[in-house]
Subunit: 370 residues, 2 copies
Amino acid sequence: MILRPKLAPIIDALPSTVPFVGPEAQERARGDVFRARIGANESSFGPAPSVIARMAEAAPEMWKYCDPDNYDLKAALAAHLGISLSNVVVGEGIDGLLGLIVRMYAGPNTPVVTSRGAYPTFNFHVAGVGARLVPVPFRDDREDREGLLEAVKRENAPLVYLSNPDNPMGTWWEAADIQRFADSLPETTMLILDEAYGELAPESARLPLQVTRPNLVVMRTFSKAYGLAGIRCGYAIGEETVIAAFERIRNHYGVSKMAQIAGEAALADQDYLRSVVDRVMAGRARITAIAEANGLTALPSATNFVTIDCCGGADFAGAVMQTLLSRGVFIRKPMVPVLDRCIRISIGLDRELDIFAEELPAALKAARGG
Amino acid sequence: MILRPKLAPIIDALPSTVPFVGPEAQERARGDVFRARIGANESSFGPAPSVIARMAEAAPEMWKYCDPDNYDLKAALAAHLGISLSNVVVGEGIDGLLGLIVRMYAGPNTPVVTSRGAYPTFNFHVAGVGARLVPVPFRDDREDREGLLEAVKRENAPLVYLSNPDNPMGTWWEAADIQRFADSLPETTMLILDEAYGELAPESARLPLQVTRPNLVVMRTFSKAYGLAGIRCGYAIGEETVIAAFERIRNHYGVSKMAQIAGEAALADQDYLRSVVDRVMAGRARITAIAEANGLTALPSATNFVTIDCCGGADFAGAVMQTLLSRGVFIRKPMVPVLDRCIRISIGLDRELDIFAEELPAALKAARGG
């Protein structure tokens, strides 16, 4: 028998399969590219032309290591947000920051509260430290604040995750409701408020920043409204001793120089951001109209996607998705009951939504056994 | 008294200061940019023109998430190295991969063996999981294989780190010596062989890949010879079940789409790589000549830097470095006895080495109290 190095028990116990299937893997499997890429809540409108130009210009400089302090980007964020540099930390997308905050506050068997069917990458990181996920069902297609609070108290959980607006339903709470939720939490429970879609939500849904509160971290990203999902750059905002704790374990050279430059340039082009928000709102209306024209119900959305209730069960919605995928339309869907009666359509370009409008009736017909 | 969320004990015990001072921070402190950037072992020659063109071309595509499988890059690496895709994992530089492998094999109080004064980021990650660093002094300015082996056996350590060629001294072992070291390790001890500078070393110093060995992981990077330090892309090669374990905890969306594209393009331009190796060899000779012209001793190097014995103590070498820094020449130096008698000069452009040659005599004079 060959002896081998032993994995740490937590890692050894983890499943070897992970739920990250990118559209590229699906394209490789089907041997063809998708005609419409409207499944990953990316911004088909792309980064701002000013950002593209800045990235191209910066390419020859990539021989230099990135600034491990992310100074220029943090200074730009601090100025934009009206906070101090000590209140912000930059990471490899919100994904990277979620991995860190879980390590900061959880360990083996720590209860960590989230909504059932919410962001799977958070759950992946919770499992990665051997912590115990406490999932609370959505209620009426929204994250259930009362249910989350009850779970936090019952479990004495040090960490609770809430996204606003949320993924995969696209629904949201007003800032005042989030504030009440935050205020009702034990002081010893850290609230991770994921505002990945924040720039696309109504002003009234964005929690005013409060950087003196030691049990709130707000996460934002350049992946969504700013159209930079591929560059991997997110940031977390919080009280300075909380932010300082990220410094103790983060990969200080994890966020590329290109990402820091692109993020700074994106922040400087707020006109472009506003134009994207307008196009996203038009896209929501378009997808809603397509759903209604097919007798389906579109959920209200504050994000760059629209979740559509297919008005059948999970199998029906799954069949609709599979047909669309097979016809070259990349979409995704929620996977847990009762959210799984829905499909989720990202706001693509007009020509991508044209393809969706063309293909949806046949997909519904096929799912109905037609 | 304000209650607050409690940090996990391991994180709470970590120091809040970290040893990552980038040249950008030093430039901000001195209020001026460096005239010569020859301190971080970057490649002043830059990425290949073909890679720069590919990055510029890819910039508009950055709205798409990166492929979480890193498929195209891994396929290119596998073809280049003659291994299978299941033998390679891509990460946010070697730094990111070191953070993962430490989590995979170490936990609270696990003994982890390295050389004293070797790569500090490895030590940072070891501390980050609460493991216990067992540092073994360099011997005759090289990593001490016998000493490392003795420490592994004494401590029953599951993890040992060795870089070849090494940083900060630039020295190296022949592959046959490394092979004997690997063969002498207990089967339950994982050897992390950091070949960040591998492409710059003599062929005879590069360990032939052996992907069926469950206690060896070789790490390489696009940061050094390929001139892409700012893009954050490294990779680890190993036996497939070892590589599979990385998948359980890595940030699947951690390596940017730009990095994956740049890495693939860099690999495709081996002519450029060869031209860089030639220029690095010329640079080594030039720095050695400058050292000798000043009565100092340059160590032999298989890397893109030359470590120079200033032939005084640590304070003397420190004073030389400080004067150079104050004169706009960014260099670094080893910090632990007895390596700390040296300064470390990266192979820069001719005009950067001209500045070094100009400034060194005055820096030596100042350090001698002159």
